[in-house]
């Protein structure tokens, strides 16, 4: 039921966002083609996270709208959410569950059942071999983020990935793995929007850079 490929175009049209009494940004427009990444950078508090939350419909923009393949995402509703994966700033991992359980429930909640072996294999690839059964409480911040990122290999049929600071607290090897994952998704014609303080340089895929000002 994943969103079909082809014209994978994400558009922001005159987006405006007000948090508390402050206007974070206004008249913000951009277009991301299929197979292209949008790297959003900018100082803290410049509205990066708010922009991503607007893109995944968690937050409603003050004015302007987000369009997916030409249609406003408000109208698409569940269809848009079915083709979207969002990994937020907060690592959605429960301390009392093991990383295996966390991964299984995160995927089940998104409507996809995966064999146990594939889960363990993916966790191992994310450097969590041998730690699948430990409660997430004992894992480090970097390990917990890898547990939440371990979902991505299973979201290949989700056209749009929205990742908020996916590379924070990751070691070099994990960053490499993430670059490979993102590149693979773009090559498939998907769209990836991510925020990061380090520059995103991916080989032979186009990365659009959107700089947010304070």
């Amino acid at each position: 039921m994943g969103v079909p490929w082809g014209l994978g175009v994400l558009q922001g049209v005159d987006l405006e966002c007000i948090r508390g009494q402050r206007r974070l940004f206004s008249k913000l427009s951009f277009t991301v083609q299929a197979g292209e990444a949008l790297w959003v950078s900018g100082p803290n508090g410049s509205g990066k996270t708010s922009l991503l939350r607007i893109l995944c419909t968690l937050l409603a923009p003050e004015s302007g709208e987000v369009r997916w393949r030409g249609r406003p995402v408000r109208e698409l509703g569940e269809a848009y959410r079915a083709g979207l994966t969002y990994i937020g700033h907060a690592v959605a991992v429960k301390d009392d569950l093991s990383s295996l359980e966390n991964l299984r429930f995160a995927l089940a909640q998104d409507g996809c059942r995966v064999a146990e072996a594939a889960l363990i294999d993916t966790l191992a690839r994310f450097g969590l071999a041998g730690r699948e059964e430990l409660p997430a409480r004992v894992l480090s911040q970097g390990q917990r983020r890898r547990v939440s990122l371990a979902r991505l290999p299973f979201c290949a049929d989700r056209a749009l990935w929205i990742l908020d600071e996916p590379l924070t607290a990751l070691d070099v090897q994990a960053v490499e793995l993430m670059h490979a994952l993102i590149t693979a998704h773009l090559v498939r014609g998907g769209v990836v929007v991510l925020t990061s303080h380090q520059p995103i340089d991916l080989k032979d895929v186009s990365v659009q850079h959107l700089r947010m000002v304070d």
Partner: protein, 236 residues
């Protein structure tokens, strides 16, 4: 390295599978934190046992106040556990993922309400008749109390979930939940306690129980929608 890049999932699951995964996860979390579950259970027992100490052991008065005491204690016990229903998920970001699930959020909220009811409601239903004996209630009255709680406690969980969702991330949320939710509990209290006192005095209880069933259906319709809307507001 290559294999991990697109391990497409085995099968896209339907609504029921997503719903049961939400319930399963919450039950598993509750089992992992058994202490939380027992606190509201023991709270119920202690509150009910306080009244004879305050009112005096005289059986006639105890029998008179028993329905009200048990039902008010059930209200407070289920409200005590509400805060746990969503607050942890809101804090660690899992609630956001629930909002972004492709399945309708109101049905997933119904799953969370069901999990909350299984964890806090069922123990109350089982222990209440036992406590009723302390109040010298006759057999049929105990049965009506259990049946009334069976119909009423889900309503407490459902309406309570709305209060829990509205007060996510708010200062003094646990006190505020009581203020928001207790007025909504009043009809359930009136007919729940009314059923037991009718049973004690030998009157018919069908009317009371059918009203409780009506509240159950009514809140099953509005509570998931309202809780979902409240969660969307809180997650914004």
């Amino acid at each position: 390295m290559e294999a991990v890049l697109d391990a497409t999932p085995d099968r896209r699951t339907g609504l029921l599978a997503v719903f049961s995964s939400v319930v399963q996860r919450d039950l598993l979390l509750a089992m992992r934190r058994r202490a939380d579950v027992l606190t509201s259970f023991f709270f119920f027992i202690i509150v009910v046992s306080l009244f004879p100490l305050g009112v005096g052991p005289e059986p006639n008065t105890l029998r008179e106040i028993a329905p009200g005491v048990v039902w008010v204690a059930a209200l407070l016990a289920s409200m005590l556990a509400l805060h746990r229903l969503l607050a942890a998920d809101y804090a660690d970001g899992t609630l956001e993922q629930l909002v972004l699930s492709p399945k309708p959020l109101s049905l997933l909220m119904l799953g969370k309400m069901l999990a909350h009811w299984l964890v806090t409601g069922i123990p109350l239903i089982l222990i209440a008749p036992l406590l009723g004996l302390q109040f010298d209630l006759p057999g049929p009255a105990l049965a009506v109390m259990a049946l009334g709680l069976l119909l009423g406690t889900p309503v407490l969980s459902m309406l309570g979930a709305i209060g829990a969702a509205l007060t996510l991330g708010v200062r003094g949320a646990s006190g505020l939940i009581a203020l928001l939710v207790l007025p909504l509990y009043i009809p359930v209290l009136i007919f729940g306690a009314g059923a037991v006192s009718a049973a004690v005095s030998g009157l018919s209880v069908e009317g009371h129980l059918s009203m409780l069933a009506a509240f159950l259906l009514f809140s099953a319709v509005i509570a998931p929608w309202a809780a979902a809307a409240a969660v969307r507001i809180a997650v914004e």
